[in-house]
């Protein structure tokens, strides 16, 4: 093993790989299994839900969270809105017909276009498998990363329910799937959206997911550990059992010799994560939900324009999504990918050629069951009086309208009201119901 790894990258380096701490985790995590209480210890909140819907599983949902507040205005560029260019004289992405610029917005529909670094997604968009949503987000107005992420990942607007929206989805849909890998969070921590999920595994590497030691003794040691963790029921018991079950499944996979079907994945953490998710999908291990984080989007300073720090991050996102899309072609009819972030950024660029915390943002939805080739937006406009709060893109489509539709149409779960309590989903029309 090498000595201390201290790698240093570009001037504004990645805020990467880590989950921001959410309030959900500040409180106790509960385990949800329909309305069944699994002899929960006293510290766990009791949550009563309606009986789970019993039915076949739908798509595998891959949820990609861009941590830090991604600047959606520079990703899905409203090049048809002059106010965009007025407020972003230095960091704005040139119009598609700007002859002076070497790199320009890739036009999609005459009003919106993709940042050139996201160009690998254009073909997916044209193929009809990518939909973009704009002026979307949550009602949260704090402009605090932690509050905004917390509310978004819990999928709730009120305090008191400390489970994540994905955990509630899993709890309200009984697919008869008992896989230890029904839900996977890539990394050393589970994201807050999975808080409370009974069957969720934090996974860093398939190849290293086993107990160290001499083969002849590992089995014996595992038996002892299992007994020790099941002696007293506590927060770790379910995690330990989940870990043993996941070891059994993953030990049968050969990650080192995995060959992606399409182009190569980018050689960074996000690319490795997407590759692992693809392998799990193709190996049919019963994964219904996978969460992947890509950090580094908190671009207060020097975010760049067509090139620069944020463009590099977008390129990494696009390359990872493109490689994943090619890799899972044989399964694309049964996979939906959602890309989201806690908030967008201020329209006006700041003195450091970056942007401060804003409000409305873009989302991406990718998959075989998506009405793609479209940017879904009730565009609120970017004129001064159309902006929200200190000068931000307003939210005209609640993020739960997007997720709720996917849950019902693509994940086969009709109990959307339990996943987003207190909110009535107003579907956008971007997904095709599974037949």
């Amino acid at each position: 093993m090498p000595v201390l790894k201290c790698t240093h990258c570009a001037e504004y380096d990645q805020i990467n790989r880590r989950v921001f701490l959410s309030k959900s985790l500040q409180s106790a995590a509960g385990l949800l299994l329909g309305n069944t209480l699994v002899s929960l210890p006293a510290w766990m909140p009791r949550i009563s839900l309606a009986d789970p819907h019993v039915g076949p599983r739908g798509d595998t949902l891959v949820c990609i969270f861009l941590r830090g507040g991604a600047d959606g205005l520079n990703m899905v560029v409203p090049h048809g809105d002059d106010n965009y260019y007025a407020r972003r004289p230095n960091i704005g992405i040139p119009r598609p017909d700007d002859r002076k610029a070497t790199l320009r917005t890739v036009d999609l529909d005459g009003f919106f276009g993709l940042h050139p670094a996201l160009d690998p997604l254009t073909e997916i968009y044209l193929a009809g498998d990518l939909a973009l949503i704009h002026a979307t987000g949550s009602p949260d107005e704090t402009r605090s990363h932690f509050e905004a992420m917390d509310l978004m990942e819990r999928g709730a607007t009120t305090n008191g329910d400390y489970t994540g929206w994905l955990a509630r989805h899993l709890a309200t849909l009984d697919t008869g799937n008992n896989s230890a890998l029904r839900a996977v969070g890539v990394g050393s921590m589970l994201p807050a959206s999975l808080t409370g999920a009974l069957s969720a595994t934090a996974l860093q590497s398939i190849a290293e997911y086993h107990l160290r030691g001499r083969d002849e003794r590992v089995g014996e040691m595992q038996t002892i550990l299992h007994a020790l963790y099941n002696q007293n029921e506590d927060m770790l018991t379910a995690v330990a059992n989940q870990t043993f079950a996941a070891i059994d499944v993953l030990s049968k996979l050969d990650a080192e010799h995995y060959q992606p079907a399409g182009r190569a994945y980018p050689e960074r953490e996000f690319g490795r994560a997407m590759k692992m998710v693809a392998q799990l999908i193709k190996a049919d291990v019963g994964m219904e939900v996978a969460c992947v984080d890509l950090g580094g989007w908190d671009t207060h300073v020097a975010q760049g324009s067509t090139e620069g720090a944020m463009a590099r991050l977008m390129a990494e996102l696009a390359a990872g999504l493109r490689a994943f899309y090619e890799d899972i072609q044989t399964h694309v009819a049964n996979v939906t990918v959602v890309v989201m972030s806690e908030f967008g950024r201020r329209l006006q660029e700041n003195g450091g050629l970056g942007t401060d915390h804003g409000h409305g943002n873009m989302m991406m939805v990718l998959g075989g069951g998506i009405n793609g080739s479209r940017v879904y937006a009730k565009w609120p406009g970017l004129h001064e009086e159309q902006l929200d709060g200190p000068g931000d893109l307003a939210v005209t489509t609640d993020y739960r309208d997007v997720l709720g539709e996917i849950i019902r149409k693509r994940l086969n779960n009709p109990q959307v009201a339990d996943v987003f309590p207190g909110y009535t989903v107003n579907e956008v029309g971007l997904a095709v119901p599974r037949s």
Partner: protein
């Protein structure tokens, strides 16, 4: 290859420091390595209750310190909680020769800003993380080190934000966190406002009057003082950002790294902040005034008290204790020692619910329990990354989580760390198995299972665990290599077991 005169001098001085450094560190390490009790008693009884109630001494050693080393539990039990706490609250009076020598052996850590800024950032990161591990592992000033970790989270700085950050963070560690970790919160806050690393990390070096950057202003309120629910508004964030315009560091010259007000970039207009009118025409005085406003705000006392109680007592901080600690904050002008006395001597602490060890504490407490020896220039960084808590590597500004559920999902790396440790597969780490055996009167495998259980868990094994582990090891002499391998596995299993995860 041609060297400039300056580079030549730099190399020369580095070589000279390196020579002395090795000497210091080696002696320091030898002192630390020899600090093992001469005899270690083997417990005879097995506990009949499954979850033995842990003592306050044990809890102090696991929450206000990085776990007991052999002999510590007896010592703290004899001293009593209050005696130990008072000793630990005066770190300057605690003998710490071994660590002092090891730290003296560092090179970058002792440089002034202008020298430091010229160094290789990767060396800075290595020294800083290495020093943090060495201090947690060997220092006798254990409470002080846990408070340094607490404040390093509170005033989180991410080493990979910019290339030079490890060098700037060395200054922050040395001149901000460590001098005030047990001092007055106000002094610590003020030092942090003057920290070049913080101003770079939260982008205030790019905050200017034509286009204010809100990042530092927001986190200064949300994370460093008031907390997000204190009732301030977006307008307060923007006004504070204006106050902080031009507050930057010198980027070049002899006084590089010094924090100064760039008057050309400062907004000298009037501001309204948290109900106060800040008159026009002021610069540094205005920044001092907002520090005073933030310190005097009732939400700050509550927020700091809540965080301290959450870290040291319970994920759900008991309101009664938070309120007493917040009162202490207000009565003592934010005296950290006074708040810690209230916390650690409280009934709430004595009866606190279990709390999961964070990964760094898990690793260090395992090394301490077995009196492991750490050679320099090696690292445990990769393992800390797998476990999820490499120091100074949490990107967002809220610091590593301090509640159990956040850390409960990643057990496998903990188990594998324990196995690697016991089989001496960690680079530079040695468990002095023979030395520990020398301090006992037995070579019998079953008795040794119980000895190590006492070292690792601080109490006898319960009957079920005892049976499982004895059966696994088998009966015999530990001189038999087959038995010894299994004994090492069994000790790893104790460290991997739930009993060692909780404090």
């Amino acid at each position: 290859m041609a060297f400039s005169r300056r580079e030549f001098l730099k190399l020369g001085s580095l070589a000279a420091v390196a020579t002395t450094a090795t000497g210091c560190s080696t002696i320091g390490r030898q002192i630390a390595a020899n600090d093992l009790p001469e005899t270690l008693a083997v417990p005879t009884a097995v506990s009949t209750t499954v979850a033995a109630q842990t003592s306050v001494a044990w809890r102090l050693l696991n929450r206000a310190a990085y776990g007991p080393r052999p002999g510590d539990l007896d010592r703290v039990t004899k001293m009593g909680a209050e005696g130990w706490l008072e000793e630990q609250l005066h770190p300057e009076q605690i003998e710490d020769t071994a660590v002092d020598l090891m730290i003296r052996g560092l090179t970058l850590y002792h440089m002034d800003a202008s020298q430091l800024i010229e160094q290789e950032p990767a060396d800075g990161a290595r020294e800083l993380i290495g020093a943090t591990i060495v201090r947690a592992l060997y220092s006798n000033r254990q409470l002080y080190e846990t408070m340094v970790e607490f404040w390093s989270d509170h005033f989180n700085i991410y080493l990979r934000k910019v290339k030079t950050m490890p060098l700037l963070k060395i200054l922050d560690d040395r001149d901000v966190i460590r001098p005030y970790a047990l001092g007055k919160f106000g002094d610590l806050l003020r030092a942090s406002v003057h920290s070049p690393a913080m101003l770079v990390y939260l982008d205030n070096v790019r905050n200017n009057k034509s286009h204010p950057n809100e990042n530092y202003a927001r986190e200064l309120m949300e994370l460093h003082t008031l907390g997000v629910h204190a009732g301030y508004t977006q307008a307060d964030v923007q006004e504070l950002a204006r106050v902080l315009t031009g507050w930057t560091m010198r980027h070049r010259g002899r006084r590089v790294g010094e924090v100064v007000l760039n008057r050309e970039q400062h907004d000298f207009g009037e501001k309204r902040f948290l109900g106060h009118v800040l008159p026009a025409g002021r610069g540094v005085e205005e920044i001092e005034e907002v520090i005073q406003i933030l310190l005097a705000h009732p939400a700050t006392a509550e927020f700091i008290a809540t965080k301290l109680v959450r870290r040291f007592v319970a994920d759900e901080p008991p309101a009664s204790l938070v309120s007493r600690v917040a009162d202490t904050f207000r009565q003592t002008d934010g005296d950290i020692k006074s708040m810690l006395r209230v916390i650690f001597l409280s009934e709430e602490f004595a009866t606190a619910p279990p709390k999961l060890k964070r990964p760094f504490t898990y690793m260090i407490s395992a090394l301490r329990a077995l009196h492991a020896d750490l050679r320099p220039a090696r690292g445990l960084g990769e393992w800390l990354e797998l476990l999820g808590q490499l120091p100074f590597h949490w990107p967002p500004p809220n610091g590593y989580p301090d509640v159990s559920p956040a850390w409960a999902t990643n057990l496998l790396p903990r188990w594998n760390f324990a196995l690697a440790l016991l089989h001496n597969e960690l680079p530079g780490v040695n468990v002095p198995f023979d030395k520990i055996l020398t301090a006992t009167d037995t070579r019998n495998s079953v008795r040794l299972v119980h000895l190590f259980a006492q070292l690792v868990l601080g109490r006898p094994l319960d009957t079920t665990a005892a049976q499982l582990l004895q059966d696994y090891v088998g009966t015999g002499e530990v001189t038999d290599s087959h038995i010894q391998e299994r004994l090492r596995d069994a000790i790893a299993l104790m460290i991997a077991s739930p009993a060692f995860q909780w404090t």
